[in-house]
């Protein structure tokens, strides 16, 4: 009888190894890659934070939100509103305000949304996200359909975020910080409770847990972390638009989490990097014999997603485990 710990908390050795190698690669990258690739990788890291925040809901608590991009975009917009046209604004108060703002929005929406179950939860989160999308899309005061510029990256006094490498390492620090926080959270009372709610919510209630409060907390924390990612996205690209909160962004986040493998946050990171990297790869395919492979990138991307869902039900991490030969997968 194998004494498998709940696979959530303890990562098999092969995955731990991949993470360490990944961290080394990310640390060394700015010295090898060009400025553009450094920006591309920091964008992947931002999306990895966004995917991990969704994994707290989807992988740990079992709540599938099809509107998680609303909080991502909202934080970006908060930064845009806080940044005056002429000069930068301090990072140290705008980042917390944006993250708390996104968390507050998640708490308010979550209060209504968390009561529903299953498919209806998916649909009602999508409905609320579409409301937030059109709130910004239709109102010129909030930037309208063409969005808003953020002319200056936030000013961090201690280091200069305008420098691409400094911004890269700041994003890397946020990524590692969020990952450690969430891994640690898995071992906390809240983490164990959310884990129990995913497996058997009915029993949790019978044992004395008011599951509504825990699910709302998970929704709020996930919204706040998505806000962190949205803030970084706004700071890096300097341009926020309603599509950041759109249906496509939420759907891509779900893709990344499923693709990577759910529940242990490492999967969400791997999924984010794979998803973005493949998009670039397929678009850069050369023209072979007159047939523009790159133009039909949607065909290759779609086929890859379908293949993964058929042959790697536990996502890329499941593959790495099998590939790495762990027995207790």
């Amino acid at each position: 009888m194998s004494t498998a710990r709940a696979h959530l908390e303890v990562l098999p050795r092969s995955i731990q190894l991949v993470l360490w190698l990944g961290l080394l690669a990310l640390l060394a990258f700015p010295w090898i890659g060009s400025d553009f690739h450094a920006q591309m990788v920091s964008r992947m890291m931002i999306l990895a934070i966004f995917a991990m925040s969704l994994d707290l809901l989807q992988g740990v608590t079992g709540l599938v939100s099809l509107g998680h991009a609303a909080y991502f975009g909202l934080a970006g917009y908060l930064l845009a509103f806080m940044t005056p046209p002429g000069e930068p604004v301090s990072l140290w108060w705008t980042l917390p305000v944006a993250v708390l703002g996104a968390g507050l929005a998640a708490a308010v929406i979550g209060f209504f949304v968390v009561r529903t179950q299953g498919i209806y939860f998916i649909m009602v989160t999508m409905a609320f996200a579409q409301m937030v999308f059109y709130l910004f899309f239709d109102n010129k005061v909030l930037g309208g359909s063409d969005g808003i510029y953020i002319n200056f990256k936030p000013d961090a006094v201690l280091f200069d975020l305008e420098n691409k490498q400094v911004f890269y390492y700041f994003t890397l620090a946020c990524l590692v910080g969020v990952y450690l926080f969430l891994r640690r959270l898995l071992w906390s009372p809240l983490g164990r409770t959310l884990n129990g709610i995913r497996i058997n919510e009915h029993r949790m209630r019978a044992m004395g847990y008011s599951t509504f409060g825990y699910k709302l907390t998970a929704f709020t924390v996930a919204g706040a972390l998505a806000g962190l990612a949205g803030y970084l996205w706004g700071a890096q690209t300097g341009y926020v638009n309603p599509e950041l909160m759109g249906f496509h962004m939420s759907a891509h986040a779900i893709m990344m989490v499923i693709l990577g493998g759910m529940g242990n946050f490492a999967g969400a990171m791997v999924g984010a990097f794979c998803f973005e990297y493949l998009l670039h790869l397929f678009k850069d395919l050369p023209t072979v014999g007159g047939f523009q492979m790159g133009k039909h990138w949607q065909l290759w991307m779609g086929s890859f997603i379908v293949l993964v869902v058929i042959w790697a039900p536990r996502g890329v991490l499941g593959l790495i485990q099998r590939f790495g030969g762990d027995s207790d997968a």
Binding site: V18, L21, A25, G33, S145, G147, Y239
Partner: protein
């Protein structure tokens, strides 16, 4: 699968990471600096605006091929990225061309949200950015820049010629209808300015969410308001549907329909007879009776087996503008001052008629009045001569 020893595990995982990172670097190593001019297309090759992206690229290449396929005597290396008309990826895709491919010239794009992303990168990087379509005002107003040139139109230009035409035809009371998004609002700005200036009154401003195409409710509203005429801004698939619904609701014969030219551009075979009799104002028309236009249409149809539209003309003009600029500095694109001065003062002999560049780098061009007759926009006259965009708020650095 027996438990592999640590060493074997290490090598396999390292291989995975190694492959991934080299894949990222590969394009980097290949990018040796050659003396070719690097031209980057950032256009929609998928989604609703795909045909526009293709038309612009075709016509741009045709313009250059007519001059021997060179720019100021230098060979050209082409780069492309599909912007999917997705604004959230605008900055990312533009940076790909500017920072990774290090293009000298960025040609793009169609969707105004994506254009805002390009504008950000262009203003930060100083790359020469040519806008072949997106009419967003900011690009040649508040966010104008010496290295940004537009060869198409500003959103309010076509409709600024519409107001006077409608009043001249005796329509004192009009209803305006469009999608509620930036392009629609800016088109209304032009119509409101010209129509009220010419003495017309706007009875009501109707709007529906983008990209909703269920017009019945608002058509009923129009019928109830009984205006003298209706003015609108729609484009693409939605425009074809609006024309057909307008006719099917019986309004076609009773309340004349006017619009910005994009209502009837590239959708006439989809709209069919319902489009007949619609008056529109645009800086081009397929049936412009000039030798230049006929020559262009013949050449384009022969090369690409497609009928050119206004988007092809704009792509073609972008090519002509670039040729004039490059020849003036004999291919030395790094001499920015001389290049921009030459492009600013360029007069483009375009199929739409000669036009010149305004100080804010937006075309000063004639706007034609056209009417649809059996699937063609017949030119009726010039609605506005050498119309320039206001360029308000542009401080050319």
């Amino acid at each position: 699968m027996t438990q592999p020893n640590r060493r074997q595990l290490l090598t396999r995982s390292a291989a995975v990471i190694g492959a991934a990172s080299t894949g990222l670097l590969l394009p980097e190593i290949v990018r040796a600096q050659s003396n070719k001019v690097r031209v980057g297309f950032m256009l929609p090759y998928t989604g609703t605006f795909a045909p526009l992206g293709v038309a612009i690229e075709n016509a741009f290449r045709m313009a250059l091929d007519e001059q021997g396929g060179k720019l100021g005597g230098r060979e050209i290396e082409w780069f492309k990225v599909d912007d999917e008309s997705e604004p959230s990826k605008g900055v990312e895709n533009a940076s790909r061309l500017v920072q990774r491919d290090k293009v000298d010239i960025l040609v793009g794009t169609v969707h105004s949200g994506v254009q805002m992303g390009i504008q950000k990168v262009a203003r930060d990087s100083g790359v020469l950015s040519l806008i072949p379509n997106a009419g967003v005002h900011a690009a040649t107003r508040a966010l104008c820049a010496p290295n940004v040139f537009r060869t198409s139109f500003s959103n309010s230009q076509p409709t600024r010629a519409l107001g006077k035409v409608m009043v001249d035809k005796g329509h004192k009371k009009a209803v305006w209808i469009t999608w509620k998004y930036a392009a629609g609002d800016e088109a209304f700005e032009g119509f409101k300015e010209s129509y009220t200036a010419a003495g017309g009154t706007i009875v009501k401003e109707l709007g529906l969410p983008f990209p909703n195409v269920e017009f019945q409710a608002l058509l009923t509203e129009i019928a109830a308001l009984k205006p003298d005429a209706v003015a609108c801004f729609f484009a693409g698939g939605g425009a074809a549907k609006f024309i057909k619904d307008y006719a099917a609701a019986g309004l076609k014969g009773k309340i004349p329909l006017y619009g910005s030219g994009f209502l009837t551009e590239g959708v006439l075979d989809a709209a069919g007879p319902a489009a007949d009799g619609i008056y529109t104002t645009l800086h081009y028309s397929d049936s412009l009776d000039t030798a230049r236009n006929k020559a262009f249409r013949l050449a384009y149809a022969k090369t690409f087996k497609l009928q050119p539209d206004v988007y092809a003309v704009q792509g073609y003009d972008t090519g002509l503008l670039m040729i004039q600029g490059a020849n003036a500095v004999k291919g030395d694109l790094s001499n920015k001052k001389a290049l921009y001065a030459a492009m600013e003062s360029a007069v483009i002999d375009s199929p739409r008629g000669k036009w010149s560049m305004s100080k804010q780098h937006n075309p000063v061009q004639d706007i034609y009045l056209r009417v649809v007759e059996n699937k063609e926009n017949k030119v009726v006259g010039v609605a506005a001569k050498a119309l320039a965009d206001s360029g308000a708020g542009c401080r050319m650095a």
